[in-house]
Symmetry: D4
Subunit: 248 residues, 8 copies
């Protein structure tokens, strides 16, 4: 997009060739040495910035957050961030820590859009932390989230009592471990995209979530797609994107 504007400037002599070459190559990120922060993503993708906290020190997280906010970001999430690290991150804006979700939100997330509605569903109690990661992510992107927890398929009446809530959502995140059967059942009840998140809940032949992942990949419901094991963030992000397009 900017290419044309840049080239017009070059043609009109307002922008020197050297500078244009540089702009084309270096503008979109800031090089912190250990990381290259993406200053254009908010423009290009229109959403809150995200720092994947696992494997980064509190210092690195602080530096990246400062760089992003210094370049105009209004809200930055740090995911996979335990309580101790969260308390060590220095933030230029007010922040809120979500313990279950292990997410630190720096700055003010947007209010829920009108008509917004994302359902987050879990099969069991142990799946809740992953579900919260999805829920907080979607909320930080401006979605209203409906939580429906512990409605696994071995007690169908629990799920069926929530059919109305499910059927009014713009997107549904389904979080399940063990045999991962819930997304297929939910997918048969709704007419919106279902994003399935396998969790590492289980033992033995659950293989840390691989069985649930494979099960979900083979869903007999056509509206189910899958993200990585325990990837609540990705599911919440995608549900948020769908919800945003639906409500704008």
């Amino acid at each position: 997009m900017d290419i044309r504007e840049l080239l017009e400037g070059v043609k009109e002599g307002r922008i020197p060739v050297e500078k244009a070459v540089l702009a084309l190559k270096t503008a979109p990120f800031t090089d912190l040495g250990f990381a290259k922060t993406d200053n254009h993503r908010a423009i290009r993708q229109g959403c809150t910035e995200v720092i994947y906290g696992a494997g980064k020190t509190a210092e690195q997280c602080s530096a990246i957050a400062s760089s992003l906010i210094g370049n105009g970001a209004e809200c930055v999430m740090v995911t996979r961030c335990d309580a101790e690290k969260a308390s060590s991150i220095k933030t230029p804006l007010d922040s809120q820590y979500h313990g279950d979700a292990r997410i630190l939100v720096i700055g003010k997330p947007p209010s829920p859009r009108e008509g917004s509605r994302v359902a987050v569903v879990t099969a069991g109690t142990s799946d809740i932390p992953v579900a919260e990661e999805a829920a907080v992510t979607a909320e930080t992107l401006g979605s209203k989230v409906i939580r429906i927890y512990d409605v696994g398929v071995s007690g169908l009446h629990r799920l069926l009592s929530k059919t109305d809530e499910l059927m009014t959502a713009n997107a549904v995140v389904v979080v399940a471990g063990m045999e991962g059967a819930l997304p297929s059942v939910v997918g048969g009840l709704v007419d919106v995209p279902v994003i399935a998140v396998p969790t590492s809940v289980g033992y033995g032949a659950s293989f840390e979530g691989v069985t649930a992942l494979l099960s979900m990949m083979n869903s007999c419901s056509s509206d189910v797609s899958v993200v990585n094991i325990d990837n609540g963030f990705g599911a919440g992000y995608i549900a948020g994107l769908i919800d945003r397009r639906t409500t704008r």
Copy 2:
């Protein structure tokens, strides 16, 4: 939904208890013996009916299609349907066969909705049949489809020349075999959901698409979710759902 209406009828004596019990239990499908066709799905999920053709005879497909159309469906797709089977299926309505996609469309699919735009992208030439399955599916659900084929990551300029087309889509389907790297790259360029389809294209350690599937599950782009290997139908269906919500 109907439960309340039914119960009101029971209360007012208009509907006998026996009949209500029966209605609650048997209404939503027709039992053909070898299959139970789902008459309510069009109502519940608001879309064209689909018959998964693999492992069904032409006779079975004909019977199911007739049952669905007899119950009011206006358009029925038969997927995974080779040319020979397609020519043996008897259809009460006009039909069109899409050879690359291996889909028979019975009846008249809807015209594309205004503002509709789904992009279907492939890494290589061999991925085209799976991409066509996605494209025809989305079209049959009322989406306008943009095809961008053979733009794999080993020659980035091919993909980059299509950035504009990608960035205006409401949803993107990315089809790739071998190392399955394309969805991550596309996911970094767009701000809409990317549905990744691994294909069985490749040899040796591609393991019939498993490597591509795993690669896509681990995408460093947050907007990528994945469906089963060679499942063009599922990807097209989900992209169609997203596109429909965006354009309504």
Copy 3:
């Protein structure tokens, strides 16, 4: 059991030591060279004899069947037996071939026991051959079989309309491919053992039934146990054993 009787005979001099040694070692089977038929199993396990037909010639099947019937068996099943082989097997008794189940039944199977009731359930149409193998096996062991086919979890109402039939069975066989979710749902509805049979129905990441198998191993319903992929015979056999104990 016979050991004591044999030893009494030895003590009383009626049975020579040499003969007793021989009896202890060789009695329970007939050695056909390529196979050792088990003449005592009917006594020891109280049921119809079974010949696993895969990888045996029609001649071998004929010889084993003759040996078993010559030693007193009244009914012999040949499983994994295609139509061509079935028509080539020479049988000393009348026989009936079940095409879907690929089972040849030689001799007269018992009538169903009073109170007997085994339910055989499938997720889809393609699972029917495996289900028939289970059903015919249970019938040949004297069980009455209720068939409930094509009630997969993506259309729950189909299954729920059959709840009564399910809840009155003494044992339930559930046959499913793809994500293998049905046994968990059925297991939550009934209070009898559920024997789950994964099938090789599916494609891509179904891995010829492995995904369904793993999913079933991780069932969140406590009453589910699992047999090998496509092993309808084993499931029908076990359901028959349970049904028999319940009804005797």
Copy 4:
């Protein structure tokens, strides 16, 4: 079942429609927020309630147990419960902790039914904890349990000396790690269902129980079905169900 009664009440005006709708939807469970306890399972499945203790806090276990007992349960098991957690769970009834089995039994389990007999067998000494989980589970369901431990196939005479005890059981649980060969051998000796439990005992290519699981899935004995690795609870539960039907 209750549906009819409810509908009769609606028809006669005794039950308002609103209340019936609510009843149909919400009755069968109590929503504790983090969990939905299943109040109807005892009725529907006729047995003691079970709390899967892994991944739940002592407080959560206490709350669920209280809810179940408050709704009429007479006996509640908490499985996968280590000694420390067991001592922290507050129980409204007397309780007993089984250390080997890691099961806390709250309330009074039923006395063994007449004629009841479940055999629990292990290949080695290290398999005993899993076997105890099965044994205590079956006992809590009202079964009499015969324990036959350390009779692996490399010393056949140990197993053969127990043939009589095995052959009089109504159901047999076989627990084995390493190559998982014992269920096949036991399955050849008895004429009742054998529930095989692979254990994570072993090293190297035992893959934490996967080899035993696969071995058991391929058993050449027709009466063997399999549950998840280390799932003593499931095996004991299923054996208890079979034993109960046999003895009622």
Copy 5:
């Protein structure tokens, strides 16, 4: 060994340096272009030569056999050789084709050594071809072979009746598919090395022999080692080596 002799020759001037260099490098094989036949193996390893027939044409087999016999071999085996290829191989000596074993023996194999005794055992009828490959291999190496077929673990009495024959062998080859349990049982009965051969007999979760292989690797009997799936030749070869050392 020859190195010293060669060096003595060099020292005494009988052998020129150039020639010695050449001898050290090129003597032990004949280069046929597509293959380098190993002329010293008979000397180095003291046994009949073997040509692995799979993936070689009849012409290539003929050429290698001729080269070996021309260099002094008295007996050459061609393994993995179907009947058609066997009939096309031109042999300078009389030959005998073993159909079950798929082995062509060219030249005269040695007579059995005194005291020689190798037992070859199978679990089922379908394992016989692999067992025959082992048996013919051992016989061609000069061993006397005792065949004990179809004595799988689900009917223990069949195996136990053969205990005497097993306990007098110098080495035992055990061939089994499916769950691969037989070597553990045999290993507990004998005090000689047991060479276990997994076979690809089975279906579903037998994974073409992988389950049997893993099971055998985890044998609880200490005297069991394992060769590749269907590798009857290797097992017969090793059993022959042990038998030879025992009887010399």
Copy 6:
């Protein structure tokens, strides 16, 4: 590189903005509909063009070859091309078909560079086709190739006799199936990069080359890197690149 030149032209008014935008986006490839041929690769990567023939029709191969040659390519390889397809491809230049390697070379490959020397080594006779694919590829890139075949590790003297030839190469390709041990041994003998190619030669637990691949990934020699199973082309290409840099 061209960017600067293009921008200079824009600045001087020689190149219109519209045209520059177009040039930046569309120049580097020709869109054939089913494929986008890469016209700049010869410039960018300085070598002969390659068409991966598997899954392309003779017509598609002809069209792509014509497009490439029409854009200036002097030599084009078609890999994974069987004899029948090769004979159906229409070529604007003379061509030569290499049957073992399954490669069609269109146009005139360069003569070997001075000092060029790539060794291609195989463990067995069955590995030769993959080795030939590597050898012909390297030759077409201007390398002189030394072929050393059938020198597997079970007869070390065969390999050791070729040490001199190995030690003078600029790069070594080692092709092996089964246990894939040869690259480690060769890697210990030479001081140049070894590119290891696992082949699908083997049976049973060779898993179609996976075992060889894993073995090679774990080589104890530091100079070994690995390409995909049966990927002779890739190995030859990389060896050619190294050889070219060494000799220029």
Copy 7:
């Protein structure tokens, strides 16, 4: 064997039937509750008794050792026994602890037999503990052991310098991790059985020894059989059995 003697006693009235039944069933082991010690194995298998120490407490090991020695064993090994446990085991006879091998030897092992010679070879330094387990086991069975350590295939001259020692052994144990190539090379040099032991030495795609195991299963040398990962005991035991038969 004893069966005949027992039966003679029964015939002659010296042994009551009841007692004979009991003897046949219970004689060969002592039931310690948690374990059934095998008193006949020394007779049946002619060797030192072995206690697998992993997962047994020092008290259990003490009790089993006492029972075995009380029943006549002269030498008992406790394998997989760390130093701490070894020091806590109470032994009725003098004992010696081998730290590298993690083996406690209770009682006096036999002196090496004349002519005895077992070679134990490792690829690297890290493989030594597994090799020592093999070596100490073989020594405890009466073998003389030659240790050849750190002779991996990336430096062939190290191995070749030991050819003489290798070629005079009656059996060879080869211990290797990573790519597991050494057994194939050794197998090509000797004419006795090679027992290969994969070790968990390595990282990444070594998969804790699985790659080495698979590599060894596919050895191109015919005389190689394989035991479980890190199973030095099994390999030493088998080598000891072969060595014993060779030397008696």
Copy 8:
């Protein structure tokens, strides 16, 4: 090479036969008992010596380093060496510890060769330690290293801005975890060998680097070969070898 010289000496009587035999067998290494150090590798492979530090004690590392330096090595690297071990290793020469790379360099590494240029690239921040292992290794072999970090494919502009630096390198090392897509993209941009290093960075279905490894094995770029997971050393070593040949 030395063989000829040795043989000349033998011929002329200067070298006794005994001594020549010994020299041929024992010269190239020093036997430290637990290790055999390779004194000829520097001559044979022309590079700095390397000690793989994992699983060796500081004492063992010290002894091996001393032996190598005592035999003439000027520079010795200890890889996989944590800070604590590094500080305990006694070195006869000055040493430098590289913390990120976990490498201790003993002695003086060579200065960079003229024209030398190796690029080391990472996808993310977490891949840097593996990249540093590669970089320090290449530097110690005399290469100049260009580091390009955190340029993963989800933000292509970061990578594209570095195209010039990439295209002037003699060899490129690409380090990536998760989906491992970066090597394919880099491979399409350059015309030199790309050595891809999968890292264990990621979670869930990344399987500790296996997904990245498989992805890289299937690269659609022809110039990519792969080393083991996290094997930065191997990649740096190979890149160094290529760079050395290019620049000499």
